[in-house]
Amino acid sequence: MTNSETNALGDSKIPVTVLTGYLGSGKTTLLNRILSGDHGRRYAVIVNEFGEIGIDNDLIVESDEEIYEMNNGCVCCTVRGDLIRVVQNLMKRRGRFDAVIVETTGLADPAPVAQTFFMDEDVREKAELDAVVALADAKHLPQRLKDSPEAEDQIAFADVVVLNKTDLVTTEEMKSVEVLIRSINPAAVVHRAERADISLDAVVGKGAFDLKRILENDPDFLATEEEAHEHDHECGPDCDHDHHHHHHNAGGLDANTHDTTIMSVSLSGGELNPDRFFQWIQKITEIDGPDILRLKGILAFPDDPDRFVVQGIHMILEGDHQRPWRDDEQRRSRLVFIGRNLDREKLERTFAACAA
């Protein structure tokens, strides 16, 4: 297992993988692959609906999606009440499993699911989000993105996107759908797969939600084309490394190249003034929180030997030191916002004002 964090009692927290994806994207197939994999891990699976394909696992909990808005006047502060209850109950007998997988319905909003693991003190104490994995059907994703805001949200929210059924599309179609995914979510790791056949290491035990860990595995994360020293080969299902296909962004493709409503704004600069930056990011997330689905960043502060990483969901903001900057690294600050109605010009201008 990965080196998960421990809670106050010294028990390691149970890692939770959230599987999202539209109906027919291959979620249940992937779930069964994970469960039957030769990895020795025992999973507790939480499902919101029993699909047509059976799930082959000893410990399956069926729960009804129950979204609770927190009574604090903030519309984006939502949690999943059913998950709070089920996770707490599961943790009473934690010897039965090593990890939890939450399979959401095709129409589920991933934000309350993810926020549950940050906003509920009891859940947060015992479990931690490992990754939000979105399954996408390579053939039908472009249409889905046009007619369903949920499908868009799922891509925007993902740490890992598994582009499934790649055998049903041409190379051209695949490239264009990858560009589409990248334009919605430049921070996600994208994997290609046929029949949801993918190395399990690519989707579970990733710590993909934990920026500190993803950055250890992928130093070029959030890097721009010029900054990334990435190999430029075609990545197939056999490729088990994390890659971001930064080269797709090279042609100036960005949020406006698709007719979906989600956009991303990538910001980049040198060292930042920490006081100005924290004031700024807090204000931005407070005011624009409802429109910000995810944000991720790596920051450099003067006189601080460590890289500082931040991430957010709506108004939830987390930040921590990661590791010292290496001598051969440029001390640059990079930040990406994924959301709706983002004011690119304002973000760029106000971010620039945080420079040290």
Partner: protein, 324 residues
């Protein structure tokens, strides 16, 4: 320190207390332990999710991950009210004359002497239930409020509305007040006669345990570094009054409260495994069990008020004789 008889439970103790006069420990793995004399262990469920004691203490109602609902009698007999189901039993509550209400997601079933006597579907998932003292009404806590139904008739349902997720509910012993606990670290109360609201906030964490004193003058609650005890004696209950904070062990939080069956005394379980009893009149705390490893999950007084059963997350358990 009083005398403690330890019980080797071994698993998370979901409920402990006395069924009749028999000490009983119901564990999350589905095993019910009766340590009296020759210890017996009965596996009632493949995973136990909830348990509730009968009004007259004649049986313990249990619900499981297996969907089953059982009555466990002190003579060791069990009765199955409902067989296996794919969904977990979420909550149980016991009314008079052996009535048991069970909630599975949004659906509530009330079992009487002759089987199912009432079914009700809430708009949202039922998070907690409580019978009114006379037992003819059932309160169900859910998102945005508490539903009140009569168990003998479809008529006269009432919805006590208050925004937010309600995760616990209790009636005052005189039936005048309904109090809920909420996801956002607060309690909310309604006076049923005129629907007046009471907001009880300021908790650092969720209130998971509430208990009225026998005479109904005080409502004790967990969720802080002391037992927070609200005055319900006057005609306006706690409105405009401050609670008393008893048994403070700052920074250790209180996880369970259980009022004495006769006196104005609260047994307090702490997250560090400590158990204490505090007299409300003077705030005097007696430590009944010292600090240990695991948080207290359940406390239950014997009817005579001399014995307290306790259980923890890690499966440490025991019976405290406060006279020893």
């Amino acid at each position: 320190m009083p005398g403690i008889t330890n019980v080797e439970a071994g698993e998370y103790v979901e409920w402990c207390g006395f069924v009749g006069t028999l000490p009983v420990f119901a564990q999350a793995d589905g095993t019910v332990i009766c340590p009296d004399g020759t210890e017996t262990r009965t596996r009632l469920h493949d995973g136990l999710t909830t348990a509730a004691i009968a009004r007259d203490r004649s049986f313990l109602a249990t619900g499981g991950e297996d969907g089953k609902i059982c009555k466990f009698w002190p003579d060791g007999n069990t009765e199955e009210l409902s067989g296996q189901n794919s969904k977990w039993v979420d909550e149980l509550a016991c009314g008079p004359s052996g009535t048991v209400a069970a909630a599975v997601s949004k659906d509530v079933t009330v079992y009487g002497k002759d089987g199912v006597m009432r079914k009700f579907s809430c708009e949202r998932t039922v998070e907690a239930m409580a019978f009114a003292p006379k037992g003819m009404r059932l309160a169900m806590a859910r998102y945005d409020g508490v539903e009140l139904i009569w168990i003998s008739t479809e008529q006269g349902s009432q919805f006590l509305e208050w925004n937010g997720a309600h995760i616990g509910v209790i009636f005052s012993p005189d039936g005048r007040y309904v109090v809920s606990s909420m996801q956002e670290n607060a309690m909310h109360g309604w006076r049923l006669s005129d629907d007046r609201h009471m907001r009880m906030s300021g908790y650092p964490s969720k209130v998971k345990s509430m208990s009225f004193t026998k005479n109904g003058k005080w409502l004790a609650s967990s969720g802080a570094t002391a037992a927070i005890v609200w005055p319900f004696a006057g005609k306006d209950g706690p409105m405009g009054k401050a609670p008393v904070e008893l048994g403070s062990m700052d920074p250790v939080k209180v996880s369970v409260v259980a009022c004495h069956p006769k006196e104005d005394v609260v047994a307090i379980g702490y997250e560090n495994g400590m158990v204490g009893a505090v007299r409300i009149a003077d705030g005097k705390l007696a430590v009944l069990r010292g600090e240990a490893e695991s948080p207290i999950t359940s406390l239950g007084w014997a009817d005579n008020g001399l014995l307290v059963a306790f259980g923890t997350e890690a499966g440490e358990a025991g019976i405290i004789d406060i006279t020893a």
